[in-house]
């Protein structure tokens, strides 16, 4: 009975740049059920943020969705008008942005900025509005809320601002929360706190979450499913347990191998050398081939088909899925 809350099918997004048209998101498909967390993992430029912006139809001026469907509760979001999307955003779908230092308007108090969502989506005013604002800020675990309502964002630390952003986005009880690298700009000690807040909110409300990150430790702790993105495409996806214990794609395997472990003594950290390819004229074959230690001519010329493992949807696009890494 647990049907998909969100189903992304063959999503493709273009970005115009001075050098040409970049295919930032290339034929990406995944799905997410209720009360589940999907982690979207990749390095900078892999397309994870653009995917999220495409879902919300909030691409920058030089971007455009070129194809595919984004089915949310059965309806294609890409076909909706601006007005319809305005009703969905903030109410049914929330999104936390990466940098808390710039995502809050410096000229409005935080009480006002949180209150806006209640004002527009639930039509609250006056005392009811104030009460709702205090309530949701407390849920985001911000101390001494009542005195802080008239403070400005610059009076808060990064961690606090991110909590305000969380409060803003969960205020109306959304079904889906997209968290775009919510902790990347914060101290390590604060990171776990923020994610715990998110986890508790999720458990108490049953909302689904897309967690965009490049930190595999967070994925392991907080996500149910994971999709690994590289150069605009999803190269491996499945449940976190399966992907982490039986990774197929060489890229995934290299990422996992690169995580330093406390019980190992190493002289040098393992890295994955090289750079992702240009997305204006991507190579015909596997895009990771240039950096891959196992790649052969077939890898370079033929884009790999999906190789499946198990029955829970674990799959990867890699010709070398079974081979051991040298």
């Amino acid at each position: 009975m647990n049907e998909d809350l969100l189903k992304v099918e063959n999503l493709t997004t273009y970005l115009a740049s001075r050098a040409g048209i970049v295919t930032a998101v290339d034929d990406v498909s995944f799905s997410l059920k209720r009360n589940r967390t999907l982690a979207l993992v990749g390095e900078s430029g892999s397309g994870k943020s653009m995917t999220c912006l495409s879902i919300e139809n909030l691409l920058p001026q030089n971007g455009k969705v070129a194809g595919g469907r984004v089915l949310f509760k059965g309806e294609d979001l890409l076909k909706k008008s601006s007005k319809e999307m305005e009703k969905i955003r903030g109410r049914e779908i929330g999104m936390i942005l990466q940098d808390p230092m710039t995502s809050l308007n410096p000229l409005f108090t935080i009480g006002h900025q949180v209150g806006e969502v209640f004002r527009y989506h639930k039509n609250l005013r006056g005392e009811a509005l104030k009460k709702a604002v205090i309530e949701v800020l407390e849920k985001a675990q911000i101390p001494a809320v009542a005195e802080r309502l008239n403070s400005y964002p610059h009076e808060f630390s990064g961690g606090m601002r991110q909590r305000v952003a969380i409060a803003i986005n969960v205020a109306c009880g959304p079904d889906l929360l997209i968290a775009d690298e919510p902790t990347t700009a914060l101290d390590v000690t604060v990171q776990l706190q923020i994610l715990r807040v998110l986890r508790e909110l999720q458990q108490s409300s049953g909302m689904s979450m897309i967690l965009v990150t490049h930190d595999l430790n967070l994925v392991e702790r907080f996500a149910d499913e994971v999709a690994i993105m590289y150069a605009g495409k999803i190269v491996e996806q499945g449940s976190v347990k399966e992907v982490f214990t039986r990774p197929m794609h060489v890229y995934t395997r290299s990422l996992l191998a690169a995580i330093p472990r406390l019980d190992e003594k190493v002289d040098r950290l393992r890295t994955v050398p090289g750079q992702p390819p240009s997305l204006i004229n991507p190579p015909p074959g596997c895009r990771f081939a240039v950096r891959c230690t196992l790649a052969d001519d077939k890898c370079r010329t033929e884009y790999p088909d999906w190789t499946k493992d198990g029955k829970q949807g674990h799959q990867a696009t890699c010709w070398k899925a079974g081979e051991a890494i040298k």
Partner: protein
């Protein structure tokens, strides 16, 4: 909410065409000014009372004025004078103001504060009024005009060059120079000035248009270039009383003036995009 269109690359082309047109126009006008004596169909002061107030024709593309003088020839000579005055004034204001600004920004302290107060003095009066006051006091001659235009204009250069010097003087290579014993003069000449040159060029290009307009205003009011020398401003003033009967006397010089400043501003914007995009609109 505006829908995102499929991104294209054609907007870059439009911009390129603009720049080419602007620079070409500028080159044509400057060449015309330089070669004026050789290319004008009539002398700028040649009168022909029988031909007075004639509308534009093949013989006189810009028409004639009340004394039968050919407007086209006078306009070309006007370019000569207006551009000469503008370039001189910008050069003087730019180098003087720029050098003062660099020295002030580099050394800081009392002299810096003093210079800034003098700059404030220039900023406390609108350029036109300051220029009127000075010309009114010193007397209207071509030399005085150039001096006055420089005096009404130098502070802008000082301010910008000063802030350039302020930010450049803390650079590592400057500190290294000091440690190796270079004199302040050497550092300013070898390190500060060359690195500030980009911004300086932007300022100069954008300033020419401003000075052309300022000179035209003064000449229009009778306190700039003096008759019989033609400047665009005096030509427009000549045409003023004939606006209803012989509009071409004032309008054609006006159009040429506008096109010149337009070309200059477009070129200046382009230069700024390339050399110093962060230069704020305030200066």
């Amino acid at each position: 909410m505006p829908e995102n269109k499929t991104p294209t690359r054609s907007s870059g082309l439009a911009k390129k065409i603009q720049i080419v047109m602007a620079v070409s126009l500028l080159v044509i006008i400057i060449l015309a000014a330089l070669l004026a004596p050789f290319i004008v169909p009539y002398g700028p002061t040649d009168m022909s009372l029988g031909d007075s107030l004639k509308p534009p024709s093949w013989a006189h593309p810009f028409g004639t004025d009340s004394l039968g003088r050919d407007i086209l020839s006078r306009t070309i000579y006007g370019a000569r004078i207006s551009l000469f005055v503008a370039f001189c004034a910008v050069f003087i204001a730019g180098t003087t103001g720029g050098i003062l600004g660099i020295v002030a920004g580099y050394f800081g302290g009392f002299w810096d504060a003093l210079l800034m107060r003098f700059a404030d003095v220039q900023f406390s009066l609108p350029a036109v009024i300051l220029a009127l006051f000075l010309v009114g006091s010193l007397g209207p001659s071509l030399t005085n005009l150039i001096i006055v235009l420089s005096l009404a204009n130098w502070a802008r250069f000082s301010r910008v060059m000063r802030s350039e010097a302020l930010s450049l003087r803390t650079r590592d290579y400057v500190l290294l120079s000091r440690l190796s014993g270079a004199s302040h003069l050497r550092i300013m000449v070898q390190h500060i000035a060359p690195n500030a040159m980009g911004t300086f060029i932007v300022l100069v290009t954008l300033d020419v248009g401003i000075v052309i307009i300022l000179e035209a205003t003064l000449s229009f009011l009778g306190l700039g270039v003096q008759p019989p020398d033609p400047s665009w401003g005096t030509l427009i003033a000549d045409g003023r009383e004939y606006l209803s009967t012989a509009w071409w006397i004032a309008i054609f010089p006006g159009i040429v003036l506008m096109l010149t400043v337009l070309a200059g501003n477009t070129t200046g914007d382009f230069v700024r995009d390339k050399l110093s995009p962060t230069l704020s609109a305030r200066w």
